[in-house]
Structures are given as C-alpha cells and as structure tokens.
Symmetry: C2
Subunit: 148 residues, 2 copies
C-alpha cells in the first residue's frame, strides 16, 4: 500500500514504454522495427557470429520468437544462418557486410537518444537508481522459485 511502491510500479511501466516508442519512431526511417534493430545491434556488439540461443538471450526474447525476426532479416540480406561445424543442430547467425556498415548508424541513433534521456541526471543519484533496480531484479529472480 506504500505510496512509493505504487509510484515505482507505475514508473517502471511507463518509462521503458516511452523509451521504446521514441526509439521505434527514430529508427522507422531506416526501415527497421525495434525488434529487428535489436538483433542487428546485439550481433554488431558481439563482433562474432552467435548461436540463436545466445542471441535470443542477449536480446531478451525466447529463441522461438527470434526465428521470425531472423527470417525477415535474412530475406532482406542483413544476416545469414551458417551451419555450426561442431554441432549440426546449431546455426551461427552472421551479419552481412552491409549490415555491419549499418549497425554503426543504428547504434549512434540509439546512443543519442540514451544521452538525451539520461544526460541531465545526477551521477550519484543514477548510481543509486541502478542499485535499486538491480535489487528489484534479484528479488524477481528469487520470486520465480516457490519457497521449495
């Protein structure tokens, strides 16, 4: 019933939603939805081909959800699926050359927005905010497991 509890709950609903909407809006001119852009960016940051497993984990979605995004990106020539040599079940997802070029631009747009949203903040207060959010995340991981 605490007022603070209610406030933080509402902010955690609203802030990421607004952030995502802004990013979507700015990336639309490049022809990417936020979902597909995330994939290109994570691959670019990784600097090497990733298994779908790993990529899905970094993007924060289920492997099954990634399949359709990869289909689209592959059809448009942004990624290729490469047989893994050790494990014939697995495929490594590679950025094409043109995708590597582009990912730098996309990253700049995302970082510019990040700066607009965060630059005015007091660094000490931001640190505290990060600490609190990390504690909430840890509590959520605890809560997943019923008390055994």
């Amino acid at each position: 019933m605490s007022q603070s509890h209610q406030e933080v709950a509402e902010l955690l609903g609203a802030v990421p939603k607004a952030w995502r909407a802004l990013l979507d809006q700015r990336l639309r001119p490049y022809g990417f939805s936020q979902a597909t852009w995330q994939v290109l960016l994570k691959l670019g940051r990784a600097g090497e081909p990733l298994l779908q497993n790993e990529l899905a984990a970094r993007v924060g979605i289920e492997p099954a959800s990634l399949v359709r995004l990869l289909d689209v990106l592959q059809a448009d020539g942004w990624i290729v699926r490469q047989q893994d040599e050790q494990d014939r079940r697995a495929k490594r997802i590679c950025l094409t050359a043109k995708a590597q070029q582009l990912s730098g631009e996309l990253l700049q747009v995302a970082d510019a927005l990040k700066a607009e949203l965060l630059d005015g903040l007091d660094p000490q207060e931001l640190q505290t905010c990060i600490k609190v959010l990390a504690q909430i995340r840890a509590a959520a991981e605890q809560a997943e497991e019923p008390p055994a």
Copy 2:
C-alpha cells in the same frame, strides 16, 4: 558510452519484463491475462464507470487496443458497456457485481508480489530511484517534440 547509461538502459528493459512475467504467472490461475486483469483493476480502483478513453489512458494503451479486451471481458460477464447519456458517441465501462468481488482478490495478488519485490529496499534509495525515473520520463516527453 557511459557505463551507467548502458546499465540503466538494460535494467529498464529487464526489470519490468520480469515483473510482468511473474504477475502473469500468478494471475493465470484466475483465468486472466495481465492485459485483461489491468482493465479490471483500474476500473476497480476508479470506483465508478469510466469512458473507454479514460480507461485506456489509465491502463497505458491506445483506445483501439482496449476494444478487444473489453469484448472478451464483456463476453465473460465481467464488464458492461453503458451508453453515456450526455454524449451518444461515448460508452461508460462498468464492472459487474462478480467482477467487483474478484477485483479485490486480484489486487491482493498484485500487491503481494509488489511487496515481495520492493520490501527489502532502503526507503531513501527507493525515493531517489523514483526521482530519477520521473526525470527520465520527463526527458522522454521533451524528446517527443522536435526542437520546434
């Protein structure tokens, strides 16, 4: 490029997602998805019938997105759409009696989870976190309007 900026961006992605997933899981036994539960809860909190407009704003979705949810809730006897008397375009959304009963239970589940996730936090640090998140939200509202 700041490390803090990157961290808070990732946490703002992950924390609400984890929270929502937990809530979904706990409300599933009641037969509601999180989307439909939000509607019942906001109506319950309002304490009076709301226009779809107002309800959508409180839930944080577009009025058009609310239509399908209301169709489902109406079909299952949780809400009714009532012609507004002043404005014949508008409808007021009312909870049925059985929905009013239930909304208390749903609220308890949600509040219990909120407590699990937030109770261990330092109140002062939580306040700082709220302040920072509110500043980010304000910056996002600024960012929507191009520099005129």
